[in-house]
């Protein structure tokens, strides 16, 4: 479904590519955790999948078609199909829980509808259902800056769910949460993944979480893809190869 063909990304003003010559593919139903030290290239890799980060060399293909060959409309379509959650949640401040969730529909609606907040009853109902699904127990009208980290991430997941995604991307979604909340968020992600038969690709620092939830683990070291296998193959030896200098 998603295929990387010899992908490299070089940021302007740097000499060393953030990711180098990466070739890999993902299929429906896979729950993939991406491991690696800070700066190993995990975020760059995740951002290449939905085109948030353009590639310098190679191709990222969706169902056989390269992102770089797609029209802007097709690119937006890819983003619509991709629910993405972030380490710092990236919610819109000063807007309520339900308003933030409804912004997940922006890719589907006309500009004037987004501008005026014209959402039909079904869409509003979907937003409320998404709140239920992520087990958020706060008032939908509450402003997001007044929520805890775990609650904010649940809002972000609900925003991604309302997109009706085929792919779920997570850029260190639990890095700013305490271990208990991180575990609960991962459980929620896995349940949603199974229920909707998604492709989920999630960056994470916590190896224990990755081994517990992933169906496949990949790992980066200095921009190189150095591991790609099932969680049981990720042993002490692999761990020290990836995380030691």
């Amino acid at each position: 479904m998603i295929k990387f063909e010899n992908v490299s990304v070089l940021y302007p003003g740097t000499e060393e590519p953030a990711i180098k010559n990466v070739s890999i593919g993902f299929e429906q139903g896979e729950f993939v955790c991406v491991l690696g030290r800070s700066g190993a290239g995990k975020s760059t890799f995740i951002r290449c999948i939905n085109g948030l980060q353009p590639v310098s060399e190679g191709n990222v293909k969706w169902d056989g078609k390269s992102l770089s060959e797609m029209t802007p409309k097709e690119n937006l379509e890819i983003r619509r199909k991709t629910g993405m959650i972030f380490q710092h949640f990236n919610l819109i401040p000063r807007m309520s829980v339900v308003q933030n969730i409804l912004t997940g529909l922006f890719g589907y609606k006309k500009s004037y509808e987004n501008l005026l907040g014209l959402f039909n009853p079904n869409e509003r109902k979907s937003a409320l259902e998404a709140i239920k699904q992520v087990e958020l127990t706060v008032e939908p009208t509450r402003r997001v800056e007044n929520l805890s980290g775990g609650q904010k991430q649940r809002v972000a997941i609900a925003r991604a769910l309302i997109q009706n995604p085929k792919v779920f991307l997570g850029d260190e979604p639990v890095a700013s949460l305490d271990p208990g909340t991180a575990e609960r968020i991962f459980t929620l992600l896995k349940e949603t993944h199974i229920e909707r038969n998604l492709v989920s690709i999630i960056n994470v620092h916590d190896v224990v979480l990755a081994k517990k939830y992933a169906t496949r683990i990949i790992a980066f070291k200095k921009g190189n893809l150095v591991f790609d296998d099932t969680p049981d193959k990720f042993d002490e030896k692999v761990y020290s190869e990836i995380y030691n200098h």
Binding site: M84, R94, G107, L115, Q163, L169
Partner: protein, 252 residues
């Protein structure tokens, strides 16, 4: 001198030299206050206040507030979209950024008074040219200030809007406006306050309002009315500051 570097000492020295030179040019001399008595004598002529014309001056004050309010409001409405074109992260193209920045700098560099004088030739005397003059200058000022707020906005929500597939202008609007809104309101109310003072100056060239009355009262030595004018002006500025503070408090 742990806190200071040698370079900072030279910066300080440079500022001190610049200040001394400016003081020389401006004949800055506190000893000139020896004629302080003249000022006290002059101010004593302002009292008692002549409150007979208060209802009329109050109406003129409302006109001044209207000029300032419209000048700031329309300035903000036009400056807001322009500021997105004048911000590096949202302009879309370097040329658009450069042209918009230049346009805003031009509007900012022309004082309202000059705009007022130019507009008099086509619009004649009255408050309307004063409103337009304030609008034009405010577009330049607010456009620059808001574009800087946009550039300093957190990129996270912008990225999130991009990730959901929102068109970039919609994404920018929704991700940035809520972040900068309290500061935009602060700037608006500050410019409103400044516009009140500006409209007084524009009164000198026939812009109407309390400024024009102040000018007339000064010219005709009616100092007991001047004190009423000044009091009303002070009340207007304090009122705008108070209302602005309350609104901002509510928004935050």
């Amino acid at each position: 001198m742990v806190w200071f570097k040698r370079r900072q000492f030279f910066v300080f020295l440079f500022i001190a030299v610049l200040a001394a030179y400016s003081m020389r040019l401006t004949e800055f001399d506190f000893s000139k206050f020896r004629d302080f008595e003249n000022m006290a004598d002059f101010l004593s002529k302002w009292f008692p206040m002549n409150t007979e014309s208060l209802p009329y001056l109050f109406t003129e004050s409302l006109l001044t507030i209207s000029i300032a309010f419209l000048g700031s409001l329309f300035g903000l409405i036009i400056a807001l979209p322009l500021s997105f074109l004048a911000a590096r992260n949202t302009s879309g193209h370097r040329i658009i950024y450069a042209i918009t920045r230049f346009y805003l700098s031009f509007l900012r560099s022309v004082p309202e008074f000059v705009f007022g004088l130019i507009l008099l030739t086509t619009l004649g005397l009255g408050p309307f040219p004063a409103v337009i003059a304030i609008v034009l200058h405010n577009i330049g000022v607010l456009g620059k200030l808001i574009s800087e707020l946009i550039e300093a906005a957190d990129n996270g929500p912008i990225e999130a809007m991009s990730a959901v597939g929102a068109k970039s202008w919609i994404g920018n609007l929704f991700a940035i406006i809520p972040q900068i809104w309290p500061n935009v309101l602060s700037q608006f109310f500050y410019r409103f306050e400044v516009a009140i003072r500006t409209s007084l100056i524009l009164g000198l060239i026939g812009g109407g309002g309390i400024g024009q009355q102040l000018f007339i009262h000064f010219k005709t030595f009616q100092y007991q009315l001047v004190s009423v004018d000044v009091l009303l002006i002070m009340l207007m500025v304090i009122l705008v500051d108070y209302i602005g503070g309350k609104i901002r408090e509510k928004v935050i």
